[in-house]
Each structure stands twice: as C-alpha cells, then as structure tokens.
C-alpha cells in the first residue's frame, strides 16, 4: 500500500461505526460469534466497521479472539 491509499483509507469514515464504548461493551459477544464462524460482520456491521477503523479496539479484539481460540485449541 502506498502513502496515498493509506492516507485515504485513514481519513475515510463509516457512518455505521458505533464507536469504542459500544464496541467494547459487546466485544465478548462479537468475539464468540467470530470464533464460532457465524457471520459477525453481518450481524454487527457497526462493530465490524469500528474494529476496522480503531487501532486500539482492533487490537483488543484480536487479543480476545486469540485467547478464546487458545482455549478451544
């Protein structure tokens, strides 16, 4: 990815984005749906949009998913 597309992607905002508070409130539910392979993005598009755009929440999501998958594995 070059600088133009990185800047362009960073500045794009998704109106469905629910913000950090709501995404973190529902993170455990979202992660369980992802871990079960059950279409979390379709069920929770606002959370999916947020996790794509917010670095810290995205990192927390990946961490929680890894912890859950560790248990399952």
């Amino acid at each position: 990815m070059n600088g133009w597309s990185a800047l362009d992607r960073f500045l794009r905002t998704d109106p469905r984005d629910v913000g950090c508070a709501e995404a973190m409130e529902m993170l455990h539910v979202y992660v369980d749906v992802v871990a079960a392979g059950g279409g979390a993005e379709e069920r929770y598009p606002g959370i999916a949009a947020h996790l794509r755009a917010c670095g810290p929440c995205g990192e927390d999501f990946e961490a929680l998913l890894a912890a859950v998958r560790d248990d399952a594995g």
């Binding site: 600088g3 960073f10 905002t13 950090c20 369980d32 961490a63 912890a67 859950v68």
Partner: protein, 220 residues
C-alpha cells in the same frame, strides 16, 4: 462477593454448561469458590502476560516491570469480574466475558505507563515524521509534497483547537489513544469520536481541493 442465591437464581437458561458451572462455583463461598478464583486468576494472568509481552516492546517496557503490569492487570480484572458477576447475562461464554476484562486492563495500564518514557513530549509537533507514518517514500517526495502540505493546512484551518490537539498527538506524534486519554483526562471513546469528526472534516477539505476523490462511503 455476590450472594449465592442472587447469582444462581439469575443464571440464564440458555447458558452453556461450562459457563453455568463457572457461575455456580464462583457464587458459593468456600473451597469451591477459592479453587474457581485461583483457576480464573491463572487464566487471566496467562492472557495478561501474553498481551503485555506482545505490546510491551512498542511501549519500551520489558523485564520485571512488564511482569508486574501483567500481575496487576490480572488482579484488577479478577476483582472487576467478581464485582460484576451478577451483570453476566450469558450473551457469550463466561470465559470470553471474563477475558475481556483483563485485555481492557492491559490496554489501560499500558496507556498509563506510556508517560513514564523520558522521550515523550505532548507539546512537540513532529510533522516531518508524517510522511513515514503513512508510508510515503522519500524518493517520491515531489509526488506527495503538495498533498501533505494540504493536510497540514486543513489541520490548521478546518479543525477545532481540541480536534487539532488530538489529531497532532495521535497521528503526527504517534501517541497511543489510551495514553492520550490518560493525559487529557478523557477516555478512548470520546477521543475516537473527536478523531472521527476530524477525519471526516479533513477528507472533505482534501476532496474539495481535488487531492482525494469525493466518495467517503468507507464501506468495505
């Protein structure tokens, strides 16, 4: 600790057996509860240690300090979980709900720790680092120089003073969102919303001046 009957009475019918067992063990005062708490603490600590080791180097934390942070995160998460046990409604597995606490504790503690670094100054504006933040190649500066000058102009003219402060800290100076929230006595959500509005304004200004296209749907 939560009264036994209150938790047990509220165990949702749809709960998976393992989650129901966790609730039952944590609710009953005595050796069973002690065993469950010790096991849960061990699980939380393992996650905290993994996360602090993964994120620590970026925050320039290592060794015993990192280990202390992991222990504190696990202990604080366990306390929060036991205090909020009655709020667990079975929307997820119990362990997923519980793990969320320790991961958020690690994030918050690392954010607070950021300001112990001697090289961090919120007031500095490191605009010369902006090209590198977005991967613009120095060899092709003639192609992006005007764009980044337009970004800087838009930051100065389109954003409120508070939005500018947050944008410069996070994007220009690379201060983590959680660390900035600590310094500004704010929270992740409020700063994200401020950045969300700032990004929208900047994109509109750059599109109006022909630097970016007008489509801001952001859907992918």
């Amino acid at each position: 600790m939560i009264p036994v009957n209150r938790v047990v009475d509220e165990i949702p019918a749809r709960l998976d057996p393992e989650s129901a067992e966790w609730l039952r063990m944590l609710a009953v005062t005595g050796p069973q509860q002690d065993t469950a708490l010790a096991r849960l603490h061990e699980m939380l600590l393992r996650i905290a240690q993994r996360e602090t080791r993964r994120r620590g180097p970026r925050m320039l934390i290592a060794g015993p300090e990192l280990e202390d942070l992991a222990y504190q995160a696990a202990a604080d998460a366990l306390m929060a979980i036991t205090a909020k046990l009655s709020q667990f409604r079975g929307e997820s597995r119990f362990t997923t709900w519980a793990y969320r606490f320790v991961i958020l504790e690690v994030s918050a503690k690392l954010g607070r720790h950021f300001w112990r670094r001697p090289d961090v100054r919120l007031e500095a504006e490191e605009w010369d680092r902006l090209p590198g933040r977005f991967g613009f190649e120095p060899a092709r500066e003639s192609e992006w120089r005007d764009l980044l000058a337009a970004v800087r102009r838009a930051v100065d003219t389109e954003l409120t003073a508070r939005q500018r402060e947050v944008f410069v800290a996070i994007v220009v100076n690379d201060v983590p969102l959680d660390a900035l929230a600590v310094r500004l006595d704010s929270n992740r959500n409020a700063l994200y919303k401020m950045m969300f509005d700032a990004r929208r304004k900047l994109r509109a200004a750059l599109a109006a001046n022909g630097y970016l296209d007008d489509d801001d749907s952001g859907h992918s």
